[in-house]
Protein backbone atom coordinates (compact mmCIF):
# COMPACT_ATOMS: atom_id res chain seq x y z
CA UNK A 1 0.00 0.00 0.00
CA UNK A 2 1.23 3.49 -0.85
CA UNK A 3 2.44 5.71 1.98
CA UNK A 4 -0.42 7.83 3.40
CA UNK A 5 -0.72 11.42 2.25
CA UNK A 6 -0.81 12.54 5.87
CA UNK A 7 0.69 10.52 8.72
CA UNK A 8 0.27 11.78 12.27
CA UNK A 9 2.28 9.96 14.95
CA UNK A 10 2.32 10.43 18.71
CA UNK A 11 1.27 14.03 18.33
CA UNK A 12 1.24 16.09 21.51
CA UNK A 13 0.17 19.72 21.75
CA UNK A 14 -0.02 22.43 24.36
CA UNK A 15 -1.79 25.73 24.83
CA UNK A 16 0.61 27.52 27.12
CA UNK A 17 0.93 25.22 30.13
CA UNK A 18 -2.10 23.12 29.38
CA UNK A 19 -1.30 19.82 27.71
CA UNK A 20 -4.15 19.07 25.31
CA UNK A 21 -3.06 16.30 22.92
CA UNK A 22 -1.42 13.22 24.44
CA UNK A 23 -0.10 11.14 21.57
CA UNK A 24 -2.52 11.27 18.63
CA UNK A 25 -1.80 8.89 15.74
CA UNK A 26 -3.71 8.41 12.51
CA UNK A 27 -3.39 8.35 8.73
CA UNK A 28 -5.16 9.99 5.85
CA UNK A 29 -4.68 8.45 2.42
CA UNK A 30 -4.82 10.27 -0.87
CA UNK A 31 -8.39 10.87 -2.05
CA UNK A 32 -10.05 9.83 1.23
CA UNK A 33 -12.54 11.67 3.36
CA UNK A 34 -11.57 10.93 6.96
CA UNK A 35 -13.66 12.17 9.88
CA UNK A 36 -12.53 12.88 13.41
CA UNK A 37 -15.37 12.34 15.88
CA UNK A 38 -15.39 13.10 19.57
CA UNK A 39 -17.08 15.05 22.33
CA UNK A 40 -16.60 18.71 23.03
CA UNK A 41 -13.07 19.35 24.17
CA UNK A 42 -11.72 16.00 22.95
CA UNK A 43 -8.99 17.76 20.97
CA UNK A 44 -10.33 17.62 17.40
CA UNK A 45 -9.79 21.28 16.60
CA UNK A 46 -6.40 21.19 18.28
CA UNK A 47 -5.44 18.26 16.05
CA UNK A 48 -6.30 20.24 12.90
CA UNK A 49 -4.51 23.31 14.21
CA UNK A 50 -1.45 21.22 14.99
CA UNK A 51 -1.38 19.89 11.44
CA UNK A 52 -1.63 23.48 10.23
CA UNK A 53 1.12 24.60 12.60
CA UNK A 54 -0.90 27.11 14.60
CA UNK A 55 -0.79 25.80 18.15
CA UNK A 56 1.91 27.12 20.45
CA UNK A 57 3.86 23.96 21.07
CA UNK A 58 3.75 20.53 19.41
CA UNK A 59 5.71 17.31 19.58
CA UNK A 60 5.65 14.03 17.71
CA UNK A 61 5.50 13.71 13.97
CA UNK A 62 3.27 15.02 11.21
CA UNK A 63 4.36 13.96 7.74
CA UNK A 64 2.71 15.28 4.60
CA UNK A 65 3.67 13.57 1.35
CA UNK A 66 6.45 11.97 3.37
CA UNK A 67 7.82 15.33 4.47
CA UNK A 68 8.09 16.09 8.20
CA UNK A 69 6.30 19.31 9.14
CA UNK A 70 6.31 19.27 12.92
CA UNK A 71 8.84 22.12 13.08
CA UNK A 72 7.58 24.10 10.09
CA UNK A 73 5.84 27.47 10.24
CA UNK A 74 2.20 27.59 9.22
CA UNK A 75 2.85 29.55 6.04
CA UNK A 76 5.30 26.90 4.90
CA UNK A 77 2.85 24.12 5.73
CA UNK A 78 0.17 25.90 3.71
CA UNK A 79 2.49 26.16 0.75
CA UNK A 80 2.97 22.37 0.81
CA UNK A 81 -0.68 22.12 -0.17
CA UNK A 82 -2.69 21.93 3.07
CA UNK A 83 -5.58 24.32 3.65
CA UNK A 84 -7.64 24.98 6.75
CA UNK A 85 -11.26 26.01 7.17
CA UNK A 86 -11.61 26.97 10.85
CA UNK A 87 -14.53 26.16 13.12
CA UNK A 88 -15.30 29.87 13.57
CA UNK A 89 -15.00 30.26 9.78
CA UNK A 90 -12.58 33.14 9.93
CA UNK A 91 -14.32 35.46 7.50
CA UNK A 92 -12.63 38.88 7.55
CA UNK A 93 -14.96 41.76 8.35
CA UNK A 94 -12.69 44.39 6.82
CA UNK A 95 -12.75 42.53 3.50
CA UNK A 96 -15.64 42.18 1.10
CA UNK A 97 -16.71 38.77 -0.17
CA UNK A 98 -14.56 38.96 -3.27
CA UNK A 99 -11.50 39.98 -1.28
CA UNK A 100 -12.13 37.16 1.20
CA UNK A 101 -12.42 34.73 -1.69
CA UNK A 102 -9.23 35.92 -3.37
CA UNK A 103 -7.18 36.28 -0.17
CA UNK A 104 -5.46 32.88 0.08
CA UNK A 105 -2.58 32.83 -2.41
CA UNK A 106 -2.17 30.02 -4.92
CA UNK A 107 0.20 27.44 -3.47
CA UNK A 108 0.06 24.75 -6.13
CA UNK A 109 -1.32 24.53 -9.66
CA UNK A 110 -4.64 22.78 -10.15
CA UNK A 111 -6.99 24.66 -7.83
CA UNK A 112 -10.59 25.35 -8.77
CA UNK A 113 -11.32 28.42 -10.85
CA UNK A 114 -13.51 31.15 -9.43
CA UNK A 115 -16.22 30.05 -11.91
CA UNK A 116 -16.09 26.49 -10.57
CA UNK A 117 -16.41 27.81 -7.02
CA UNK A 118 -19.48 29.83 -8.02
CA UNK A 119 -20.90 26.67 -9.55
CA UNK A 120 -20.58 24.95 -6.16
CA UNK A 121 -21.83 28.00 -4.24
CA UNK A 122 -23.99 30.19 -6.51
CA UNK A 123 -24.97 32.40 -3.54
CA UNK A 124 -21.48 33.81 -3.32
CA UNK A 125 -21.60 35.20 -6.82
CA UNK A 126 -24.50 37.46 -5.92
CA UNK A 127 -22.85 38.83 -2.79
CA UNK A 128 -19.37 39.64 -4.05
CA UNK A 129 -19.44 43.28 -2.98
CA UNK A 130 -20.93 42.65 0.49
CA UNK A 131 -18.83 42.90 3.61
CA UNK A 132 -17.65 39.37 4.43
CA UNK A 133 -19.32 39.19 7.82
CA UNK A 134 -22.65 40.53 6.51
CA UNK A 135 -23.31 37.14 4.92
CA UNK A 136 -25.60 34.62 6.60
CA UNK A 137 -23.95 31.83 8.58
CA UNK A 138 -24.41 29.39 5.72
CA UNK A 139 -22.98 31.78 3.16
CA UNK A 140 -20.01 32.49 5.40
CA UNK A 141 -19.35 28.77 5.61
CA UNK A 142 -19.53 28.51 1.82
CA UNK A 143 -17.09 31.38 1.53
CA UNK A 144 -14.77 29.81 4.08
CA UNK A 145 -14.73 26.55 2.11
CA UNK A 146 -14.78 28.21 -1.31
CA UNK A 147 -11.75 30.38 -0.72
CA UNK A 148 -9.46 27.42 0.07
CA UNK A 149 -10.46 25.56 -3.10
CA UNK A 150 -8.74 28.07 -5.37
CA UNK A 151 -5.31 27.65 -3.89
CA UNK A 152 -4.38 24.27 -5.31
CA UNK A 153 -4.14 22.73 -1.85
CA UNK A 154 -4.91 18.99 -2.06
CA UNK A 155 -5.57 18.30 1.61
CA UNK A 156 -8.46 20.23 3.12
CA UNK A 157 -8.94 20.42 6.88
CA UNK A 158 -12.59 21.25 7.56
CA UNK A 159 -13.56 21.95 11.17
CA UNK A 160 -17.27 21.33 11.80
CA UNK A 161 -18.50 22.85 8.54
CA UNK A 162 -22.13 22.08 9.38
CA UNK A 163 -22.19 23.53 12.89
CA UNK A 164 -25.26 25.69 13.47
CA UNK A 165 -26.52 25.52 9.88
CA UNK A 166 -29.98 24.77 8.46
CA UNK A 167 -30.61 21.29 7.02
CA UNK A 168 -30.75 22.44 3.38
CA UNK A 169 -27.38 24.10 3.74
CA UNK A 170 -25.94 21.05 5.45
CA UNK A 171 -27.08 19.03 2.45
CA UNK A 172 -25.46 21.47 0.08
CA UNK A 173 -22.20 21.22 1.97
CA UNK A 174 -22.49 17.43 1.95
CA UNK A 175 -22.90 17.44 -1.84
CA UNK A 176 -19.94 19.78 -2.14
CA UNK A 177 -17.71 17.52 -0.10
CA UNK A 178 -18.75 14.55 -2.22
CA UNK A 179 -17.91 16.46 -5.39
CA UNK A 180 -14.57 17.60 -4.04
CA UNK A 181 -13.75 13.99 -3.24
CA UNK A 182 -14.65 13.02 -6.80
CA UNK A 183 -12.28 15.68 -8.04
CA UNK A 184 -9.48 14.10 -6.08
CA UNK A 185 -9.31 16.34 -3.00
CA UNK A 186 -8.35 14.64 0.25
CA UNK A 187 -10.40 15.80 3.19
CA UNK A 188 -9.92 15.59 6.93
CA UNK A 189 -13.23 16.50 8.47
CA UNK A 190 -14.10 17.22 12.08
CA UNK A 191 -17.74 16.55 12.89
CA UNK A 192 -19.99 16.11 15.88
CA UNK A 193 -22.86 15.24 13.58
CA UNK A 194 -22.05 11.67 12.56
CA UNK A 195 -25.27 11.31 10.62
CA UNK A 196 -23.90 13.99 8.33
CA UNK A 197 -20.42 12.48 8.42
CA UNK A 198 -21.77 9.09 7.40
CA UNK A 199 -22.95 10.57 4.09
CA UNK A 200 -19.43 11.60 3.08
CA UNK A 201 -16.77 9.80 5.13
CA UNK A 202 -14.69 6.78 4.15
CA UNK A 203 -13.29 6.24 7.62
CA UNK A 204 -13.61 7.54 11.18
CA UNK A 205 -11.30 8.13 14.08
CA UNK A 206 -12.81 8.72 17.50
CA UNK A 207 -10.97 11.04 19.88
CA UNK A 208 -11.25 11.38 23.62
CA UNK A 209 -9.11 13.33 26.10
CA UNK A 210 -6.51 14.19 23.47
CA UNK A 211 -6.08 10.67 22.10
CA UNK A 212 -7.47 8.54 19.28
CA UNK A 213 -9.39 5.77 21.01
CA UNK A 214 -11.04 3.98 18.10
CA UNK A 215 -11.10 3.75 14.32
CA UNK A 216 -13.42 2.13 11.81
CA UNK A 217 -14.51 2.31 8.19
CA UNK A 218 -17.82 3.71 6.99
CA UNK A 219 -19.03 0.20 6.19
CA UNK A 220 -18.60 -0.71 9.87
CA UNK A 221 -20.59 2.28 11.06
CA UNK A 222 -23.82 0.38 11.72
CA UNK A 223 -21.97 -2.28 13.68
CA UNK A 224 -20.28 0.39 15.79
CA UNK A 225 -23.36 2.44 16.48
CA UNK A 226 -23.74 1.43 20.13
CA UNK A 227 -20.11 2.13 20.89
CA UNK A 228 -20.37 5.46 19.10
CA UNK A 229 -23.35 6.52 21.15
CA UNK A 230 -21.26 5.75 24.19
CA UNK A 231 -18.23 7.67 22.96
CA UNK A 232 -20.16 10.71 21.94
CA UNK A 233 -22.65 10.62 24.77
CA UNK A 234 -25.62 11.05 22.43
Amino acid sequence: MAAPLLAVRELEAWYGESHVLHGVSFDVREGEVVTLLGRNGAGKTTTLKSIMGIVGKRKGSIAYEGQETIGASSDRIARLGIAFCPEERGIFSSLDVKENLMLPPLVRPGGLSVEQIFELFPNLKERLASQGTKLSGGEQQMLAIGRILRTGARLLLLDEPTEGLAPVIIQQIGRTIARLKQQGFTILLVEQNFRFASTVADRYYVMEHGKVIDAFANAELAANMDKLHDYLGV
Binding site: I54, S74, D75, I77, A78, G90, S94, L103, P104, P105
Partner: protein, 292 residues
Amino acid sequence: MFGIPTQALFSQLLLGLINGSFYAMLSLGLAVIFGMLNIVNFAHGALYMMGAFVAWFLLNWFGVNYWGALVLAPLVVGALGVVIERTMLQRLAGLDHLYGLLLTFGLALIIQGGFQNVYGSSGQPYAIPPQLTGGQNLGFMFLPNYRAWVVVFSLTVCLATWFAIEKTSLGAKLRAATENPTLVRAFGINVPLMITLTYGFGVALAGLAGVLSAPINQVRPLMGADLIIVVFSVVVIGGMGSIMVSIVTGFALGICEGLTKVFYPEASNIVIFVIMAVVLLIKPAGLFGRAA
Protein backbone atom coordinates in the same frame (compact mmCIF):
# COMPACT_ATOMS: atom_id res chain seq x y z
CA MET B 1 -15.02 89.28 7.75
CA PHE B 2 -15.25 89.86 11.55
CA GLY B 3 -12.73 92.63 11.04
CA ILE B 4 -10.08 90.05 10.13
CA PRO B 5 -8.16 90.89 6.97
CA THR B 6 -8.77 88.13 4.42
CA GLN B 7 -5.06 88.14 3.69
CA ALA B 8 -4.33 87.00 7.26
CA LEU B 9 -7.18 84.52 7.25
CA PHE B 10 -5.98 82.81 4.10
CA SER B 11 -2.33 82.73 5.04
CA GLN B 12 -3.21 81.14 8.38
CA LEU B 13 -5.44 78.68 6.59
CA LEU B 14 -2.53 77.79 4.35
CA LEU B 15 -0.25 77.40 7.34
CA GLY B 16 -2.89 75.18 8.90
CA LEU B 17 -3.03 73.07 5.76
CA ILE B 18 0.75 72.71 5.78
CA ASN B 19 0.80 71.62 9.41
CA GLY B 20 -2.17 69.41 8.62
CA SER B 21 -0.15 67.75 5.86
CA PHE B 22 2.50 66.75 8.35
CA TYR B 23 -0.06 65.64 10.95
CA ALA B 24 -1.81 63.54 8.33
CA MET B 25 1.31 61.85 6.97
CA LEU B 26 2.64 61.10 10.43
CA SER B 27 -0.60 59.91 12.00
CA LEU B 28 -1.25 57.79 8.92
CA GLY B 29 2.05 55.99 9.47
CA LEU B 30 1.27 55.57 13.16
CA ALA B 31 -2.14 54.09 12.33
CA VAL B 32 -0.73 51.63 9.81
CA ILE B 33 1.96 50.53 12.25
CA PHE B 34 -0.45 50.26 15.16
CA GLY B 35 -2.85 48.15 13.07
CA MET B 36 -0.26 45.56 12.13
CA LEU B 37 2.18 45.59 15.02
CA ASN B 38 0.00 46.72 17.89
CA ILE B 39 2.77 49.13 18.76
CA VAL B 40 2.42 52.83 19.44
CA ASN B 41 5.52 53.96 17.65
CA PHE B 42 7.08 56.63 19.82
CA ALA B 43 10.15 56.63 17.58
CA HIS B 44 8.06 58.20 14.82
CA GLY B 45 9.14 61.77 15.52
CA ALA B 46 12.81 60.81 15.69
CA LEU B 47 12.53 59.02 12.35
CA TYR B 48 10.81 62.06 10.85
CA MET B 49 13.78 64.12 12.02
CA MET B 50 16.13 61.55 10.50
CA GLY B 51 14.36 61.90 7.17
CA ALA B 52 15.21 65.61 7.21
CA PHE B 53 18.80 64.95 8.29
CA VAL B 54 19.31 62.29 5.63
CA ALA B 55 18.18 64.86 3.05
CA TRP B 56 20.66 67.32 4.53
CA PHE B 57 23.51 64.75 4.50
CA LEU B 58 22.68 63.79 0.95
CA LEU B 59 22.90 67.40 -0.14
CA ASN B 60 25.95 68.44 1.83
CA TRP B 61 28.02 65.27 1.64
CA PHE B 62 26.98 63.69 -1.64
CA GLY B 63 25.56 66.59 -3.62
CA VAL B 64 22.21 64.82 -4.01
CA ASN B 65 19.53 67.46 -4.46
CA TYR B 66 16.04 67.73 -2.95
CA TRP B 67 14.41 65.53 -5.59
CA GLY B 68 16.92 62.77 -5.06
CA ALA B 69 16.43 63.08 -1.31
CA LEU B 70 12.68 62.84 -1.71
CA VAL B 71 13.21 59.30 -3.01
CA LEU B 72 16.34 58.25 -1.12
CA ALA B 73 15.70 59.57 2.38
CA PRO B 74 12.45 57.61 2.88
CA LEU B 75 14.23 54.51 1.60
CA VAL B 76 17.05 54.99 4.10
CA VAL B 77 14.64 55.63 6.98
CA GLY B 78 12.46 52.70 5.86
CA ALA B 79 15.50 50.43 5.78
CA LEU B 80 16.41 51.54 9.28
CA GLY B 81 12.83 50.74 10.29
CA VAL B 82 13.20 47.24 8.85
CA VAL B 83 16.32 46.73 10.94
CA ILE B 84 14.61 48.06 14.07
CA GLU B 85 11.64 45.77 13.53
CA ARG B 86 13.72 42.68 12.83
CA THR B 87 16.17 43.15 15.67
CA MET B 88 13.95 44.63 18.37
CA LEU B 89 10.23 45.04 17.85
CA GLN B 90 9.77 41.47 16.63
CA ARG B 91 10.75 40.21 20.06
CA LEU B 92 7.85 42.07 21.61
CA ALA B 93 5.18 40.16 19.69
CA GLY B 94 2.42 39.05 22.02
CA LEU B 95 3.50 41.29 24.89
CA ASP B 96 1.56 44.21 26.32
CA HIS B 97 1.40 47.53 24.38
CA LEU B 98 3.49 49.07 27.07
CA TYR B 99 6.68 47.28 26.07
CA GLY B 100 6.54 48.55 22.51
CA LEU B 101 5.82 52.01 23.75
CA LEU B 102 8.78 51.99 26.13
CA LEU B 103 11.15 50.49 23.59
CA THR B 104 10.28 52.96 20.84
CA PHE B 105 10.34 55.84 23.31
CA GLY B 106 13.85 54.77 24.35
CA LEU B 107 14.88 54.56 20.71
CA ALA B 108 13.56 58.07 20.12
CA LEU B 109 15.61 59.42 23.02
CA ILE B 110 18.75 57.68 21.80
CA ILE B 111 18.37 58.86 18.21
CA GLN B 112 17.51 62.41 19.18
CA GLY B 113 20.24 62.53 21.82
CA GLY B 114 22.78 61.30 19.31
CA PHE B 115 21.89 63.98 16.80
CA GLN B 116 21.81 66.66 19.47
CA ASN B 117 25.28 65.69 20.57
CA VAL B 118 26.65 66.31 17.13
CA TYR B 119 24.48 69.13 15.84
CA GLY B 120 23.35 70.90 18.98
CA SER B 121 19.85 72.27 19.11
CA SER B 122 20.10 74.84 16.38
CA GLY B 123 18.77 74.28 12.90
CA GLN B 124 20.69 73.51 9.74
CA PRO B 125 19.30 75.48 6.81
CA TYR B 126 18.01 73.55 3.82
CA ALA B 127 17.19 75.59 0.73
CA ILE B 128 13.96 75.36 -1.18
CA PRO B 129 14.67 73.59 -4.49
CA PRO B 130 15.05 76.18 -7.27
CA GLN B 131 12.07 74.78 -9.19
CA LEU B 132 9.79 75.66 -6.28
CA THR B 133 11.00 79.05 -5.15
CA GLY B 134 8.79 82.09 -5.58
CA GLY B 135 5.05 82.00 -5.49
CA GLN B 136 1.74 82.99 -7.01
CA ASN B 137 -0.16 86.14 -6.29
CA LEU B 138 -3.73 84.91 -6.07
CA GLY B 139 -5.14 88.39 -5.50
CA PHE B 140 -6.48 87.64 -2.02
CA MET B 141 -3.17 86.16 -0.88
CA PHE B 142 0.36 85.27 -1.86
CA LEU B 143 0.85 81.51 -2.27
CA PRO B 144 4.48 80.35 -1.98
CA ASN B 145 5.09 77.58 -4.52
CA TYR B 146 6.92 75.32 -2.10
CA ARG B 147 4.06 75.37 0.39
CA ALA B 148 1.51 74.59 -2.28
CA TRP B 149 3.73 71.71 -3.35
CA VAL B 150 3.91 70.31 0.19
CA VAL B 151 0.12 70.33 0.57
CA VAL B 152 -0.56 68.76 -2.83
CA PHE B 153 2.21 66.21 -2.52
CA SER B 154 1.26 65.06 1.00
CA LEU B 155 -2.37 64.83 0.06
CA THR B 156 -1.41 62.69 -2.93
CA VAL B 157 0.78 60.42 -0.83
CA CYS B 158 -1.96 60.06 1.80
CA LEU B 159 -4.63 59.23 -0.76
CA ALA B 160 -2.33 56.82 -2.60
CA THR B 161 -1.68 55.04 0.69
CA TRP B 162 -5.38 54.91 1.40
CA PHE B 163 -6.01 53.48 -2.06
CA ALA B 164 -3.27 50.88 -1.71
CA ILE B 165 -4.61 49.68 1.62
CA GLU B 166 -8.35 49.85 0.97
CA LYS B 167 -8.60 48.98 -2.72
CA THR B 168 -5.82 46.61 -3.76
CA SER B 169 -5.25 42.92 -3.14
CA LEU B 170 -2.04 43.65 -1.27
CA GLY B 171 -4.03 45.98 0.96
CA ALA B 172 -6.62 43.24 1.49
CA LYS B 173 -3.85 40.98 2.78
CA LEU B 174 -2.76 43.75 5.11
CA ARG B 175 -6.27 44.36 6.43
CA ALA B 176 -6.83 40.63 6.88
CA ALA B 177 -3.53 40.24 8.72
CA THR B 178 -4.50 43.11 10.99
CA GLU B 179 -7.68 41.21 11.88
CA ASN B 180 -6.37 37.67 12.20
CA PRO B 181 -2.65 37.22 11.52
CA THR B 182 -2.65 33.55 12.49
CA LEU B 183 -5.22 32.57 9.90
CA VAL B 184 -3.67 34.72 7.18
CA ARG B 185 -0.36 33.03 7.83
CA ALA B 186 -2.03 29.63 7.71
CA PHE B 187 -3.13 30.49 4.17
CA GLY B 188 0.53 30.57 3.17
CA ILE B 189 1.21 34.29 3.46
CA ASN B 190 4.47 35.31 5.08
CA VAL B 191 2.93 37.51 7.77
CA PRO B 192 6.16 38.23 9.68
CA LEU B 193 7.63 39.67 6.49
CA MET B 194 4.49 41.76 5.96
CA ILE B 195 4.79 43.11 9.49
CA THR B 196 8.42 44.08 8.94
CA LEU B 197 7.64 45.81 5.66
CA THR B 198 4.65 47.59 7.20
CA TYR B 199 6.85 49.08 9.87
CA GLY B 200 9.39 50.01 7.22
CA PHE B 201 6.68 51.67 5.15
CA GLY B 202 5.16 53.52 8.10
CA VAL B 203 8.46 55.04 9.15
CA ALA B 204 9.41 55.74 5.52
CA LEU B 205 6.31 57.98 5.45
CA ALA B 206 7.72 59.78 8.49
CA GLY B 207 11.06 60.12 6.71
CA LEU B 208 9.31 61.52 3.66
CA ALA B 209 7.49 64.07 5.81
CA GLY B 210 10.88 65.00 7.25
CA VAL B 211 12.27 65.75 3.80
CA LEU B 212 9.22 67.83 2.94
CA SER B 213 9.60 69.87 6.08
CA ALA B 214 13.36 70.51 5.76
CA PRO B 215 13.04 73.63 3.55
CA ILE B 216 10.22 75.00 5.71
CA ASN B 217 11.36 74.37 9.27
CA GLN B 218 15.11 73.84 8.94
CA VAL B 219 16.72 70.61 10.05
CA ARG B 220 16.84 70.30 13.84
CA PRO B 221 17.48 67.31 16.13
CA LEU B 222 14.34 68.07 18.13
CA MET B 223 12.04 68.90 15.22
CA GLY B 224 10.31 65.54 15.60
CA ALA B 225 10.07 65.65 19.38
CA ASP B 226 8.02 68.86 19.20
CA LEU B 227 5.81 67.71 16.39
CA ILE B 228 5.10 64.19 17.57
CA ILE B 229 3.30 65.35 20.68
CA VAL B 230 0.76 67.14 18.54
CA VAL B 231 0.56 64.16 16.20
CA PHE B 232 -0.25 61.83 19.07
CA SER B 233 -3.04 64.18 20.09
CA VAL B 234 -4.32 64.02 16.53
CA VAL B 235 -4.30 60.24 16.76
CA VAL B 236 -6.10 60.31 20.09
CA ILE B 237 -8.73 62.69 18.73
CA GLY B 238 -9.39 60.65 15.59
CA GLY B 239 -9.05 57.30 17.31
CA MET B 240 -6.95 54.54 15.84
CA GLY B 241 -9.84 53.83 13.54
CA SER B 242 -8.81 53.78 9.94
CA ILE B 243 -6.51 55.20 7.34
CA MET B 244 -9.02 57.75 6.13
CA VAL B 245 -9.71 58.91 9.68
CA SER B 246 -6.01 59.66 10.19
CA ILE B 247 -5.84 61.66 6.97
CA VAL B 248 -8.99 63.67 7.56
CA THR B 249 -8.29 64.31 11.23
CA GLY B 250 -4.73 65.39 10.43
CA PHE B 251 -5.78 67.98 7.89
CA ALA B 252 -8.83 69.11 9.85
CA LEU B 253 -6.84 69.76 13.02
CA GLY B 254 -4.16 71.60 11.11
CA ILE B 255 -6.85 73.89 9.74
CA CYS B 256 -8.39 74.27 13.20
CA GLU B 257 -5.04 75.38 14.51
CA GLY B 258 -4.65 77.87 11.66
CA LEU B 259 -8.09 79.35 12.26
CA THR B 260 -7.39 79.69 15.96
CA LYS B 261 -4.30 81.71 15.10
CA VAL B 262 -6.53 84.15 13.27
CA PHE B 263 -9.32 84.46 15.80
CA TYR B 264 -7.58 83.87 19.12
CA PRO B 265 -3.82 83.61 18.59
CA GLU B 266 -3.10 83.06 22.29
CA ALA B 267 -4.81 79.66 22.11
CA SER B 268 -3.29 78.43 18.88
CA ASN B 269 -0.60 76.33 20.53
CA ILE B 270 -3.00 74.54 22.79
CA VAL B 271 -6.18 74.28 20.75
CA ILE B 272 -5.42 70.70 19.68
CA PHE B 273 -4.82 69.64 23.27
CA VAL B 274 -8.06 71.28 24.35
CA ILE B 275 -9.92 69.43 21.61
CA MET B 276 -8.21 66.24 22.73
CA ALA B 277 -9.27 66.72 26.33
CA VAL B 278 -12.87 67.37 25.29
CA VAL B 279 -12.94 64.37 22.96
CA LEU B 280 -11.46 62.14 25.65
CA LEU B 281 -14.16 63.24 28.06
CA ILE B 282 -16.95 62.54 25.62
CA LYS B 283 -15.58 59.64 23.59
CA PRO B 284 -12.55 58.01 25.18
CA ALA B 285 -11.90 55.83 22.11
CA GLY B 286 -11.58 58.92 19.90
CA LEU B 287 -14.11 60.40 17.50
CA PHE B 288 -13.98 57.49 15.07
CA GLY B 289 -12.23 54.89 17.19
CA ARG B 290 -13.48 51.44 17.92
CA ALA B 291 -13.71 50.92 21.65
CA ALA B 292 -11.03 48.45 22.70
